[in-house]
């Protein structure tokens, strides 16, 4: 492990993070709000910390090669570092009293979770609200991917960092060169964000709020500058625009790219995408049926609110337009299951990912098939391509780890005195990067009342979920550190 080398990359990323804080500073200057000084101080601290790391770590020979091990370590540490330094603007503002809360809010932002410890969101300054949304936007497509797109310094070794940050179960490179792929992904991402801003403006949302919401929809983040989230507007138009963009954000971005290049049937030809869209439709219909009459008196409303909650939770965005804890039991269970399924691989969404669910289903079917035909040879295929056995093993391992970590974390949280529903809900929401959970952390509540240790645990869960478990958990395996 070349620590100097890793430190240098993290230093560069921190410097870069400091640079990105200029955006909320400009917002602060524009509105003349009180957060100006805290942003200036954060920028100075972050950039200086970055520069120190860069200067202390000397450039060595062979720096363009990164081993998989180093790649994973770098990414896991970089995300932790970014979470810490990204918390500075919050910590230096009077609204936040403890560093724990600031760190929780920052990690929740970068990992696009959207769980908040803020009791009174609208009491924050505009620039802080902007920073909350902006870090979700940065985290959505991946900070490393972004730096690969604009900074040429990583070169050949970048692929290990890329794989550690975007561990898609079914890898597809859009372009032979990694930096080109990264540019394409960010390009598509930026275009959709811009489109959503235009759509929201068209419905009469103020520019600041439209931008904040677009910045948190496309990364499937879920922070809103309003206390009541999207319910604040109570507008069917905004609901459906946001549903549309949440779905787009939950689809594999390489499909968007193919679509833009003229393969119009790309969505339909892709098994995972069909599964994802079908799931949204079916679950929406079931939930509409469930809440029609019992919660909503008009069918139109039932459909509107059902589709919003299903899309919001399934894509792991976490916006709220209704308190789903008042829904009947079936709808609540559907949403709880959605928290685990998540969006498509290669999208900005979290959760287990549809591709893994499909692979798991096919894998189990193959096992059953093998019992009936003991000597049969068969492969698990998605989109007519064979999923190699080692990839399948890694998917099964992922699912087992996901469930295992969910159980252990829930136990730990419950051990800190949190009730059962809240413990399950909070962990599922954080490990799946969703946002609102169940119990006392539901869509109308927040995470402020949780114990300090619980917040650190949940922040760790968010990182686990965002980096798809292996990258983070590997650092806790003793074998990893043996020489």
């Amino acid at each position: 492990m070349r620590w100097q080398f890793i430190a240098r990359i993290i230093g560069i990323l921190l410097f870069f993070l400091g640079l990105s804080m200029v955006a909320p500073l400009l917002v602060s200057l524009h509105y003349g709000d009180l957060s100006r000084d805290s942003f200036i101080r954060s920028i100075v601290i972050t950039m200086v910390a970055g520069l120190i790391l860069i200067i202390l770590s000397k450039k060595q020979d062979g720096d363009d090669y990164i081993s998989q091990k180093e790649g994973m370590t770098t990414v896991a540490l970089a995300w932790t570092g970014i979470g810490l330094f990204g918390a500075l603007p919050f910590y230096l503002s009077p609204e936040f009293t403890s560093f724990t809360d600031a760190f929780f809010e920052s990690v929740s932002g970068f990992t696009t979770t959207g769980s908040s410890v803020m009791i009174h969101i609208e009491g924050l300054t505009k620039s802080l609200l902007f920073w909350r949304s902006f870090i979700q936007w940065l985290g959505g497509m991946g900070i490393i991917v972004l730096s690969l797109a604009i900074l040429p310094f990583l070169g050949v070794g970048g692929i290990q960092l890329y794989k550690a940050e975007v561990p898609s179960p079914v890898p597809d490179k859009l372009s032979p060169r990694l930096s080109d792929s990264a540019k394409i992904l960010w390009g598509v991402y930026a275009v959709f964000t811009l489109l959503e801003i235009i759509f929201l403006l068209g419905g009469g949302m103020p520019l600041f709020e439209a931008a904040c919401h677009a910045f948190t929809t496309m990364p499937t983040g879920g922070f809103s500058p309003k206390n009541a989230s999207i319910a604040h507007y109570n507008s069917a138009y905004f609901d459906y625009v946001i549903i549309l963009f949440m779905i787009l954000a939950g689809i594999n971005f390489s499909l968007h790219y193919q679509m833009l290049r003229g393969r119009t049937l790309a969505f339909w030809e892709d098994t995972e995408c069909r599964f994802f869209l079908g799931l949204v439709l079916v679950l929406t219909l079931v939930m509409t049926w469930d809440i029609y009459g019992s919660v909503y008196t008009s069918l139109k409303d039932a459909f509107r609110f059902a589709s919003f909650q299903v899309t919001s939770i399934l894509t792991t965005t976490g916006f709220a337009t209704a308190d789903y804890e008042k829904f009947p039991g079936l709808s609540q269970v559907i949403l709880f299951v959605c928290m685990f399924i998540g969006a498509s691989a290669g999208s900005t969404g979290g959760g287990m990912k549809c591709a893994r669910i499909i692979s798991c289903y096919k894998y189990c079917y193959r096992e059953l098939f093998k019992i009936v035909h003991p000597r049969s040879i068969s492969h698990v295929k998605i989109n007519n391509t064979v999923i190699p056995d080692d990839v399948l093993r890694s998917i099964m391992g992922f699912l087992a780890l996901y469930i295992g970590l969910f159980i252990v974390s829930s136990l730990l949280l419950a051990g800190m005195g949190v009730d059962m529903m809240t413990a399950f809900g909070a962990v599922a929401a954080c490990i799946g990067n969703i946002g609102p959970g169940f119990g006392s952390v539901g869509p109308t509540d927040n995470f402020a009342h949780l114990p300090v240790m619980g917040k650190w645990l949940l922040a760790w869960c968010m990182l686990l979920g965002r980096l798809e478990i292996y990258t983070v958990i590997i650092l806790f395996v003793p074998e990893f550190w043996r020489k």
Partner: protein, 454 residues
């Protein structure tokens, strides 16, 4: 007519022997001295022991005066290069190539139109799969073939005791069955071919070759006491090129298919290619596997491994377990006479398919197709009647039809007609004839242009 054959394998041998018996000049080129020796000892042909894709060798063999080049080695590459070189040296020579790799399939047309201008690409695997598919579709049939682009079929079936037809005289057919009576081309009894006259009877146990319009086939089979039951479950043993191709076609028709192959890597490959077909890993002689997988419940069992003995065993086993319809691939032609006695009736052979399609191509002219049956004991010939040939213009009863030959049907403007003694063949009619081997030459004379025409 001079013909050069590159490749002295089973295909080359069979073609050479057929062409030599028709008094053509045949030169065979092959690298393998043993294969060459077998030919030169048995056949009246010229042989060259060298590489057939070598230009020097081809020139020495007289490619420039050659009418037809047949490239039929086991190697697609050699065959292609031989055609390419021939195209350069002697562009007027007709070229036929045997190409087995199906990855070449999309390019067959371009190989014909562009360099190396191959006149016909023969892929025996495709032919065999088509034959298997035809045999499958007509469950009682032992042999099935197409004429007139599939409009007319010939079918061979074994007559059983319960058939309403058993014991009848052919003259009584028209009174009993009317217009839609079957056109019987040949009756095989105790290994002898009888070209039927009105006075002949059909007996239980006879193998009957008849010709029918494809759309009337179901009804015809009904007359014989056979029913067409749609095939739903197929068991294929051997996942080679034939097995793979067949399974893919069956998969498209949503027929439940299982394939067994002994090679684990091949199984993995097949599983990657197929969607619904069940791929099983096991030896063709593994009875336990077959019982486990319910081979007895299959409608058709197709054994197409590379090993004749395995195929025969599998088919016998399947018959024992109650499968009526088995199709067996046999490579060695000297097995054919034995198979009927042990109950293996439906046989396909890629080599014979290749031989017959190459011969069809070689003879192409006014003869549209020429299908050998029963290991070349008899031939179906489909031809266009020429104005100047003897067969046209006169009622059939006035023609001196050679013994052992019969005019089976006439297709005029798409209408299929059953000929009687008073029928007259008009120029431009498609006619289908059947002849036993010794009558073929005389029949050809009847079909070809009169000498005094020139």
């Amino acid at each position: 007519m001079k013909i050069i054959i590159v490749g002295a394998g089973e295909v080359g041998y069979n073609i050479a022997s057929r062409l030599a018996s028709e008094n053509k000049q045949v030169v065979v080129i092959d690298k393998d001295p043993n294969a060459i020796r077998r030919l030169s000892e048995n056949l009246d042909i010229q042989v060259v022991t060298a590489s057939g894709s070598n230009p020097r060798v081809l020139i020495d063999a007289g490619i420039k005066e050659t009418d037809i080049l047949l490239a039929v080695t086991d190697s697609d590459e050699t065959n292609l290069v031989a055609c390419l070189i021939t195209d350069l040296i002697s562009p007027t020579t007709k070229k036929f190539a045997r190409i087995r790799n199906s990855d070449f399939n999309p390019y067959h047309n371009r190989l014909k139109k562009e360099n190396p201008h191959i006149d016909a690409v023969i892929n025996p695997e495709i032919e065999v799969v088509n034959t298997i598919k035809r045999l499958m579709d007509v469950p009682g049939a032992v042999d099935v073939g197409d004429f007139a682009d599939g409009q007319v079929k010939y079918v061979a079936i074994q007559l059983d005791r319960h058939s309403p037809m058993a014991g009848m005289k052919l003259v009584d057919f028209s009174s009993k069955f009317g217009e839609d009576r079957p056109l019987i081309a040949a009756i095989i009894r105790n290994d002898d071919i009888i070209v039927p006259r009105g006075s002949n009877t059909v007996e239980p146990g006879d193998l009957i070759y008849f010709v029918s319009e494809t759309k009337k086939l179901k009804k015809m089979l009904g007359l014989f006491g056979k029913e067409i039951v749609p095939v739903q479950r197929v068991f294929i043993i051997g996942g080679g090129r034939i097995g793979e191709r067949l399974a893919k076609i069956l998969e498209k028709d949503s027929i439940k298919t299982k394939i067994v192959d002994a090679d684990i890597d091949r199984c993995h490959y097949l599983s990657e290619q197929m969607d619904k077909t069940v791929i099983l890993h096991g030896d063709g002689s593994d009875q336990k596997l077959f019982l486990e997988e319910n081979i007895g419940q299959s409608d058709v069992v197709v054994s197409v491994t590379d090993d004749d003995e395995t195929n025969i065993l599998v088919s016998l086993l399947a018959k024992n377990l109650g499968v009526h319809n088995t199709i067996t691939r046999i490579g060695k032609s000297n097995y054919f006479p034995l198979l009927a006695t042990i109950g293996i009736d439906k046989i396909v052979s890629p080599r014979l398919s290749a031989v017959s399609s190459i011969l069809q191509e070689v003879r192409k002219g006014k003869v549209l197709s020429d299908i050998s049956i029963l290991g070349e004991k008899g031939e179906f010939i489909e031809a266009i009647a020429l104005e100047t040939s003897d067969i046209t213009g006169n009622p059939l009863k006035k023609l001196s039809f050679p013994k052992g030959a019969i005019l089976v049907c006439i297709i005029r403007n798409g209408q299929v007609m059953i000929p009687s003694g008073d029928s007259i063949v008009k120029p431009g009619d498609r006619i289908i004839l059947f002849a036993v081997k010794h009558a073929v030459k005389k029949l050809e004379k009847l079909l070809t242009v009169k000498l005094d025409f020139f």
